[in-house]
Structure formats: C-alpha cells, structure tokens
Amino acid sequence: MSSKKVALIGVGNIMFCDEGIGAYALRYIEKNYIIPENLTLIEGSSLGFRMMTYYQEYDKIIILGTGSHNDKPGSVRSENADEILAKGPTRKTANEVEITMMIEICSFHENMADVELVTMVPEDIVSVRNGLTQGTLEKMPIFVRNVLEVLKKEGIELREKDKHHSFEEIIEEFANPKQEIDPQSFLKS
C-alpha cells in the first residue's frame, strides 16, 4: 500500500443540480468503501480559495467535479495541473475558475501537491434544486469507477464495505440535512 498522502476533494454546489457530482461521488466512496489512513476525503463544496490549505498539505490532490469540455454529457475526463493551466483563460464553471486560480496561486510554493482533476460533463448546472438529472444519475457509477482507477494508480485500492448505500440515498441525505445533536456535546444553561 502506498504511503503517499492523498486527498480526494469533491467540489460543486449541491443546490445547482448536476453541479453536485463531486460532492455526491465523494460521499458515495466514503459510505461504501473502507478508507485507508493515507487517504483523506474532503467535501470541498464551493470552497474556492479555502482549498489552498489542502494543496500544500498533501502529496497528491484528486479533485472531483464537473467539467465543461466539449464532450457529451456523462463523459469523464482526468487532467493534471499542467493540462488544466494549458487550457488557457477559458473557463465555464465556477469550479474551473476557482480550481485554476488555486493551482496558479500555489504553483509558486515549494510544497505544492500534484493535482489531478477528474470531471464528468453535466447535463444541467443552472437549475436551482437539489439532486441530479436522470442522465447524470445513471452515469455516476462510471464516474466513481474512474475515480477508483485514478486512486489505484496512486497505489490505493479501495475495498467495499458490506453494506451498500445507493446514490439515491446519498442525494436524499444531502437534500435534507438534519442538525443532529449529541447529548454529550452540550450542557444546558
């Protein structure tokens, strides 16, 4: 097993329909696989420059999100930092703007993680609603399979847990967060 410190970061806003791809895939992996010590899962949401911290703390950062390349919806692509920067100034999604920005800011730093972006082309990132379009939902297993392959190349092979959680369950959980209070965590006044 690799000792490389790897972070898997899911980005995207779950209030913009398919923009939640990264967040849902991340939670899916977290719930369904046994996570080794050298792999950290971070729900990056729409963190923007707050992600800078992670860029400097890990050997490898794998970002999951939406892509805007001209392929048809559902196509998956993996790119490294140099390929992302080489695309020039054209950016179509907030993710791309923020991720590119962070790579640029941090690229001047000595301790900069090796960054890889795994993206899937969405159908709809404009509608304001929780959940995925049917087409994107059907493609999610392919997306996750690609992410697992990328991890494998880093020497991290994930094993499945016994109990399986579906994408539908995960989306439902995101759409209806409950403020759970541990009775040990507070004292009444």
Partner: protein
C-alpha cells in the same frame, strides 16, 4: 479620439461571476460604469418548508468562502425568531470562530487576491536584496515592529525563485499581470518585499484556517453551532485545545503585525497621491448621488457607509448587547455625524435586476425571487453589451432608506470611528499617526485596503481577550453551552433576523416560521450591497461609483478597475482575476477590452 467602452468579464453565470463595463473618455478617465453579476439567489426556494433548526446546514452552502458565516447567521435568525439568548460560552465560541475567519480571510485577500494589484512581480527581479532588507526594516519600523523577513539572503532566495520562474515561463498567476504598467508605484525593492510576504502568507494562512476548526468542528464545514448555542463543550473544557488556539493566534498575529501592517503602510504611502486625488473621485463627476462632502480620492465611490454591527461583548442578547463593531450609518461623506441603523429601512429593488418585482422595493421579510432574464444586447460591432437602461444584473439592488450604501471593513471602521468607539478610534488613529496620512486617505481604494488591515490587527488582538475570558469562565465552573427552548411553542408563528458583519460586510438572513416550518426566507449578502446595479431612480452602486472618475494609464489594461473592485473583496474576486483582457478566447460573451464606443 472617441470614447472607449471597456468590458471586463469572466465568463458564465455560475456562482457569482462579475462583469464590469466602463466608458473611458479621451483623457483616459472613466466617466461611467456598470456592475453586473450572477450571484446565486434561490436559497429562498430551497429553504421554504424546512425545519428552521436545519436551515443553517443548507444556508452554509450559499457561499464557499463565508460558509461558517452564513451557517451562523441562519441559526441566529432562527434564535431571534424564537427569542433565545445563548449562554456566555456559546457567545464567546461563536466570536472566536468568526474572528478566526476574519483574520484568515483578510490576510488571504490582501496577499493572494489583491496584493498583485499593487505589487509588480516582474519588477521585483531588478531589486537589490541588501537594499530590500533595509526597506523592509524601514516600513516595519513605521509600524513600530521589527520586520518579519529581515535578511538580504532571504530576499535573495525569493528573488532567485522569481527569476527562475520567469525564465521557465512558469509564472502561474503572475503570468496574467499587467507588469510594467505605469500605475504600479512601488520600487523594485518594495515589490520584492511584497512577493516575499505573499509566499510566506501561503504558510501562515494554513495555520489560521486550523484555528476555525478548533471550536468549529469538522473543517471545512463547521457543525458545532446549533439553534440555542454550541455543541463543543468538550473542546472548551480541554486546556490543550485552548492552548492550541492561542498558539496559532499568536503566530498569525505576529505575521499580521510584522508583515501585513508594514506592507499596508508601504502601499498606503506609495499610493497616497491616488488616494487623495479628489479630481479622480466619484464626487468630482456629475453623476446622480455624487453629492455631499467632497472627501477622498480614487476609488472612494459613494461615501455612504453602513454597518449592522457585530461581535457581542456581553450577554444581554441579540441587538441589545454592546458590540465590537457598532451599528450605524455615515452618509454622503459627512463624518461629523452617525445615523442609527433601523432594520425596517432595508429593502431590495429589482428595477435593474433580472427579477420580476412588485414595482417597489421590498423588505426582505416579504421579498420575492422570481427570475426575469432579459439578456444582453448585441451591437453592430458584434459584441454583446449590458442593457444598462433596463435590467442588467442578477444581483438585486439593496437600499437603506432608499439610499445605496457601501459595506465592509471600511464601513465598519468609519462608522465606529465617527461613533466614537474607543477601540476602533485607537487603531485607526494609530494607523494615521504612524503613516502620517490624513483621515481622508481612507475614502479611496487604498483606504479600503488599509481599513481591512487595521481591522485585522484589531480582531487578532481582541481574540486573545475572548479566549482568556472563555477559559476563565469555564474554570469558574460555568460549562453551559446551550439554551433550552420549547420548539412547538416558539415555532408556531414567529419571524426573526440574523444581522451580522461577515468579513466582507453587512450580512442579513430573514426568516418567517409558521407551524414549525420555514414560511419565507431571504438572505441579503455583503457583495449584494456593494456589487448591486443602479437603484430605482438611477442611484449608482458602490462598485460602479468607486470606478467612475478613475484615471487609467492604459485602456487596454484595466489594472485600475480591477484594483478598485478587489479592494472591496468581492467573493467573486477570483473570477475577475482570470479574465483574459485580450478577449479573444472567452467563451460566452465575445469580449474586447477597448472597442470604439
């Protein structure tokens, strides 16, 4: 020579992209400007019908940068509706979480999003490291400290790195700058100091981010704040957690005092001419709203400031407590008086926003969010322009008593200063005395940036007091962190507001609760106040006014526009940075920075 129409535009309408259109006359002065953006508004729809106790968890997703701030404001709106006063420990923990956010945010904004508007990276390659060390000492001494980086060899190492990167063509973000533009005013040595601190700040910010998680719980999404208080009782009882917080705060404060402040003294002095150039201010133009006192210079803008007030200093409950940042307004540059803030006078207008409205500005309790996109106008030259006489932004136009106001650190410092707040006066006067600059310098782009630095130092210092107060209170045996309430009773029919100051300015969440569910919800975020379009009677917005009057060195390089917009710290700042001003490759709007008008 004819007028030129500049368009500075990052691309699509996802999560807060910003577009500035400006008209530049034959003397290279900006005579008109419009701000258009695509800030997300739709949270209202998603929150309706939910359990109000869970709203914070969804509201935190409004913005990726101020996640924790939205989370807390949403919870406090519900606490206000339920008439809950949280315990002292909860108040202090919330102050510490938000305070840590301030210091982190302001530092990252200054160095990583804004400094390169003042610092010419390429010019730093020409610096003499020995002279740079002397220069660093000079500005640190102005601040009354020793420099954070003081040796010539350290500066030489940074310089070697820049030279190497330039040679290899790997300048990254630095590759997009307008290097050599005559409106860069620092010497090569000063530029090298700026770059050296930029790099160091990358390390410092990492520790500052950790501070927020000590009491905030899981990073990056805080979870320890709940309706009624906080849930981190184990953390506040643990001396090691308190000690870690103090140690990280101490290191961060050291950088703020020995690098950030000296750099702002340096930039403030070198850019003082622009800051005090009244002929380049909005008030020197004939625009509607350019009235009142003629104070300040480049980038000053509308000169009306508002603070909701925030950071409670005692436990008398919402909107009764003494505050670190007092609430109030200073209007039209008149710093002789302060107006008390009245929440009922807040409204939002959509005359120039892509929403259907009722025909008059609406109070957030009654506010609606119904999209009505009317598009851009393609002119004969093939470019798409904003229809500035009609609707031209996804941002609504917030008004206070019918007026446009600016919010943010400068507003907080001005309101606090004019109100005679002792702590704020002490920090602002100290800055003015040491820099030997007049108070009017604050009413400018540079002043906005200086106010943020002054506030950072103030916040870092006061957090030591809060963390000690928390430790003392816990040591005295008070462990309570949560106030109990009867949900069925308080949620039958109530309404409340979470009014606070996010790092970027006044933030409000308004909630109406009926039969245990959210009936209506509106959030008016800081960048809405600043980036909003014209008001119903043509009142110019804060960004728009700040840009109007500015003299540009080269219309092909909108350095001055970007510098002024960045001085507000829009959450959309990163988007402005990646604009390709050559405009040939932008995807959605075909853009040319200087097409004939």
């Amino acid at each position: 020579m004819s007028k030129k129409h500049i368009i500075v535009d990052p691309i699509t309408r996802i999560e807060g992209h910003l577009r500035i259109e400006a008209v530049i006359d034959e003397n290279n002065t900006i005579v008109d400007a419009w701000s258009s953006s695509t800030m997300f508004r739709g949270i209202e729809t998603i929150l309706k019908g939910r359990d109000p106790r869970d709203c914070g968890l969804m509201a935190m997703r409004i913005c990726g940068v101020c996640t924790g701030t939205h989370y807390q404001r949403s919870i406090e709106a519900v606490e206000d509706a339920f008439d809950i006063t949280i315990p002292k420990n909860a108040r202090l923990v919330r102050n510490l979480i938000q305070g840590a956010l301030y210091v982190h945010d302001h530092l990252v904004h200054f160095y990583h999003l804004h400094a390169l508007d003042f610092v010419d990276v390429v010019a730093a390659t020409k610096a003499d490291p020995e002279k740079t060390a002397k220069e660093a000492k000079k500005w640190a001494n102005v601040a009354g400290v020793e420099p954070y980086i003081g040796s010539a060899s350290d500066f030489k190492m940074v310089q070697d790195r820049i030279v190497k990167f330039v040679k290899e063509g790997r300048l990254g973000i630095f590759g997009n700058g307008y290097w050599g533009n005559p409106h860069y005013k620092l010497t090569p040595e000063q530029n090298l100091i700026g770059v050296a601190h930029y790099l160091k700040a990358l390390d410092v910010q990492r520790d500052l981010a950790k501070m927020q998680a000590i009491f905030g719980g899981k990073n990056p999404h805080p979870q320890s704040i709940v309706v009624g208080g906080v849930t981190c009782v184990q953390d506040i009882q643990n001396p090691a957690r308190i000690a870690l917080f103090k140690s990280l705060l101490k290191d961060g404060t050291d950088f703020v005092k020995r690098a950030y402040l000296p750099d702002v003294y340096m930039a403030g002095t070198m850019y003082a001419d622009e800051a005090t150039d009244g002929s380049a201010a909005f008030h020197a133009t004939n625009h509607k709203g350019a009235m009142g006192k003629k104070v300040g210079g480049t980038g000053g803008g509308i000169l009306s400031y508002m603070s909701y007030g925030d950071f409670r200093l005692d436990d008398t409950g919402f909107y009764h407590s003494e505050l670190l940042f007092p609430s109030g307004l200073v209007l039209d540059g008149d710093i002789s008086k302060v107006h008390e803030f009245d929440p009922s006078k807040v409204s939002e207008d959509v005359t120039h926003s892509w929403y259907k409205g009722s025909g008059a500005p609406e109070h957030p309790y009654e506010g609606t969010t119904i999209p009505e996109y009317t598009g851009l106008e393609k002119k004969e030259d093939g470019f798409a322009y904003l229809k500035t006489d009609e609707k031209y932004s996804w941002i609504k136009s917030p008004l206070y008593d019918g007026k446009k106001v600016e919010v943010g650190p400068l507003a907080r410092m001005v309101v606090g200063y004019v109100k005679g707040d002792k702590r704020i006066k002490k920090y602002v006067d100290n800055f003015l005395k040491r820099s030997k600059l007049p108070i009017t310098v604050l009413f400018s782009t540079v002043g906005r940036t200086a106010a943020r630095a002054i506030e950072t130092e103030l916040m870092a210092d006061v957090m030591f007091e809060w963390v000690d107060e928390l430790a003392k209170n816990v040591a005295a045996g008070d462990l309570s962190t949560w106030t109990e309430f009867d949900f069925d009773k308080v949620s039958a029919n109530s309404k409340g507001v979470g009014l606070a100051e996010a790092p970027r300015g006044a933030l409000g969440h308004w909630v109406k609760v009926k039969d245990g569910k959210v009936e209506n919800y509106q959030a008016v975020v800081p960048s809405t106040w600043n980036a909003g379009p014209r008001g119903p009677n043509g009142e110019v917005g804060a960004y728009e006014a700040a840009v109007i009057g500015t003299k540009v060195a080269n219309p092909e390089e909108p350095l001055e526009i970007i510098r002024t917009i960045h001085s507000f710290d829009p959450c959309i700042a990163c988007a402005v940075h990646v604009v390709d001003t050559k405009g040939k490759e932008l995807a959605v709007y075909k853009v040319d920075p200087a097409c004939a008008f």
